[in-house]
């Protein structure tokens, strides 16, 4: 059966749904909006599954192709379903569906519910286009559209200045990256005369244009780094957490921020040849993995901890990509999408318990009130730490193994250290949120003093309110499914399964399944255990460091301030930009541009003022003028002609 028609349908159905839901967002009931929005993503997911069955079920995996446009060949956009794109599309639509369902409950109380679902649908369209395109143009269009979706959803609460600023920050930094990406694509076209993956990579396989590949690789990397929030263009990601939690889970954890990983995996023939660019990818990733894990240990906002954890995990994927272990990178993307989405969605439940307060210093003891959130969060955190048999262990192990077997000792050490830090910040996060005593807000003594009775009444009120949060089923089920996947997706897909799934996309590589190396696995687990135990010692309910950080007078240090990278960028870029804008807005525009325009007007007026004196209405003055003219004309003829 020919299923090629499904490819454009996967892309178009969520886009149509976004348009329809966006148009009827205020007329339809929230239930109708939910059904349409989730239904379109479910349809897309079903079609991806059908294609996957067809593709992987066939004996010889032949990519399924479809055109998207009917115009000429040069810029024709096509879609392709091969191992890599199906692998990614499965996660995009699958995780997207779960998070859509979660959002129907999480965002239901919001007055802009329809707008939210429409934007979420638009994101699914953009991301599907990104991963299903068979050429660089389609990829770039999807790339830009996911950036737009990210911008719209970070700034979803557009009345909050912080959200607006975060949205602008994310958009501007991504534009900076896109400049690199587009330059890279332009160089590709200049060198190979085509935008199609097959033609470009075929030309590279024949040894064409090798000289430019390092440059192209670096330019593509700039785009990937900005989109995936890697060093040094990572500063937008923590602020992106201003968006609603499902957005953080879907866009800023599971799918969009990993687009850079997809790009490098997809363009692997370039990085196979361009060893310099590949090593840059590896180092960017390795340093990002350690940086993110370190900074995550110093944050107090639950979603920011997870954001830096995402940064760190994507760093692992970049590391694997740079070392040529593309399958490992894609496998880690796969497991990471599940456990990180699970963490974010569970964090959404947690935040609901605290009425939107995301500060982990104001939490504590939640385990005794909500076992479900604790269990799912814990399972996903263990997967993130990478303890066997949780999912993260298998995928991270492949990455460490790649560094180990290639003898990249510096990168291997960094990656193992980052694994230790990962355990450290996860134990800290879990302990601060779920264990210990519940946080008691200090009674304000400023101003009017409250009587003991009033304080007690307020406390009872708060307690009653806290117990009122029963998590709806539409939020529980997606979290539960993702938690199960974070437990099982590792060993279920480890080894042969992912290799046979992905290998057709890497035809020039000699891929074979590797068993778990006891040295590497033992080392990473041991380091993780050490990191976790140190963290437990410091942050357990009666831990010393916990007391220090919970003290309201505690001053956060360098980790909380993200190594002052943001401060530096503020100083280097934001302030000069603001000063320039101020100069242009307050001096150059009113004095310079307006000055020229107003000056021309004033000149005409002055000139007219002089000339109007001539036209005084006196007959004899006109007569004199006529006479003078006659005299002049006559004089001219007499003396010169």
């Amino acid at each position: 059966m020919d299923l090629a028609w499904m490819l454009p349908a996967i892309v178009v159905v969520p886009l149509l749904s976004a348009a329809i839901v966006g148009y009827f967002r205020n007329t339809w009931s929230k239930t109708t909006v939910s059904w349409v929005a989730c239904g379109s993503v479910a349809a897309a997911f079903a079609m991806v599954v059908a294609l996957a069955v067809q593709y992987w079920g066939a004996a010889a995996a032949e990519p399924i192709r479809s055109g998207l446009t009917s115009w000429g060949s040069l810029a024709s956009l096509g879609l392709v379903a091969d191992g890599l794109s199906l692998w990614w599309a499965l996660v995009v639509t699958g995780a997207g569906l779960l998070i859509h369902i979660y959002s129907t409950a999480y965002m239901r109380e919001d007055e802009s519910y329809g707008r939210f679902m429409a934007k979420l649908n638009f994101f699914i369209f953009a991301m599907s286009l990104l991963v299903l395109s068979d050429n660089f143009i389609g990829l770039a269009i999807g790339w830009g559209c996911v950036g737009l979706a990210s911008y719209m959803l970070i700034g979803f609460y557009f009345t909050k200045p912080a959200a607006q600023n975060a949205a602008i920050k994310a958009f501007v930094m991504n534009i900076a990256g896109e400049a690199g990406l587009f330059a890279g694509i332009a160089f590709i076209y200049a060198n190979f005369g085509s935008f199609k993956f097959d033609e470009v990579f075929g030309a590279i396989a024949q040894g064409q244009g090798v000289a430019a590949l390092n440059l192209i690789g670096i330019l593509l990397l700039i785009g990937a780094v900005a989109k995936s929030a890697q060093l040094p263009l990572h500063t937008w990601l923590p602020y992106a957490m201003e968006g609603p939690t499902p957005v953080s889970a879907l866009i800023h954890a599971a799918t969009m921020v990993t687009a850079g990983v997809y790009l490098v995996s997809r363009a692997y023939p370039i990085y196979e040849v361009a060893s310099g660019a590949a090593m840059t990818v590896a180092w960017v990733g390795g340093l990002g993995a350690l940086f993110g894990a370190l900074v995550a240990a110093g944050q107090f906002d639950i979603k920011r901890v997870l954001a830096f954890s995402t940064l760190s995990q994507i760093g692992y994927m970049f590391l694997a990509n740079g070392l040529g272990a593309y399958v490992a990178a894609d496998f880690h993307f796969f497991t990471h999408a599940f456990f990180k989405a699970c963490l974010f969605l569970a964090a959404g439940i947690v935040v609901h318990h605290y009425n939107g307060d995301q500060d982990i210093r104001h939490m504590g003891g939640l385990w005794y009130r909500d076992k479900f959130a604790g269990l799912t969060f814990g399972a996903a955190a263990l997967a993130l730490i990478g303890l066997p048999p949780f999912a993260g262990f298998f995928s991270k192990d492949e990455i460490l193994l790649a560094a180990f077997s290639q003898g990249q000792w510096a990168l291997f050490t960094i990656a193992v250290l980052a694994a230790g830090m990962t355990a450290f910040y996860n134990v800290r996060l879990f302990s601060l949120v779920f264990l210990g005593d519940a946080y008691v807000a200090p009674v304000r003594q400023v101003g009017k003093k409250r009587s003991r009775k009033q304080a007690e009444a307020a406390g009872a009120d708060a307690q009653a309110h806290a117990h009122a949060h029963e998590t709806p089923a539409a939020m529980k089920w997606p979290v539960a499914i993702l938690a199960v996947l974070s437990v099982v997706s590792g060993w279920l897909f480890f080894g042969h399964v992912q290799l046979t799934a992905l290998a057709p996309s890497f035809p020039t590589l000699d891929l074979h399944a590797e068993a778990i190396n006891p040295v590497v696995a033992g080392l990473s687990v041991a380091v993780a255990l050490v990191g976790g135990l140190i963290s437990w010692y410091l942050y357990r309910p009666e831990g010393a460091r916990r007391a220090v950080e919970l003290n309201p007078l505690h001053k956060p240090g360098i980790l909380y301030n993200m190594f002052y990278v943001d401060t530096l960028y503020d100083f280097l870029f934001v302030r000069p930009a603001k000063e320039t804008a101020q100069f242009i807005g307050q001096l150059f525009d009113p004095r310079g541009i307006d000055g020229v325009v107003n000056g021309l007007g004033a000149l005409a007026r002055e000139l007219g003022g002089v000339l109007r004196r001539w036209q005084n209405g006196l007959v004899r003055s006109y007569a004199l003028t006529v006479f003078a003219g006659v005299v002049l004309v006559v004089a001219y003829y007499v003396f010169y002609v």
Binding site: R612, Q615, N616, G617, L618, V619, R620, A623, L624, F627
Partner: protein
């Protein structure tokens, strides 16, 4: 009839024209200005006729007739305006009639 030289006609015409011009410039009564304009036109007519006769053709005289016709039309309009002006104002001073000024 004594025959005067052409130069004499030209000189007379120049004197008449200058008198007319000065009259237009210095008199403030519209009636006097009209008369001065007539003087200038007739100075021109004198030249036309004098040169026409010197050349022995009729063109100059024809031109003089045309000028007389135009002058008659002009005087008709000018006098009508002057009469209206006298009706509207106690005295007719062209310097007071400056409503066309912007």
């Amino acid at each position: 009839m004594p025959a005067f030289s052409l130069n004499a006609y030209v000189a007379l015409s120049a004197v008449l024209f200058a008198l007319g011009g000065i009259g237009v410039l210095v008199r403030r009564s519209p009636l006097a200005m009209l008369m001065s304009i007539e003087l200038m036109l007739n100075a021109a007519n004198l030249l036309f006729v004098a040169f026409g006769r010197a050349h022995g053709g009729y063109e100059g005289q024809i031109m003089a007739f045309l000028v007389i016709t135009v002058a008659a039309a002009e005087v008709a309009i000018g006098l009508a305006l002057t009469v209206l002006l006298f009706r509207r104002r106690p005295e007719a001073d062209v310097d007071q009639v400056n409503e066309l000024r912007l």
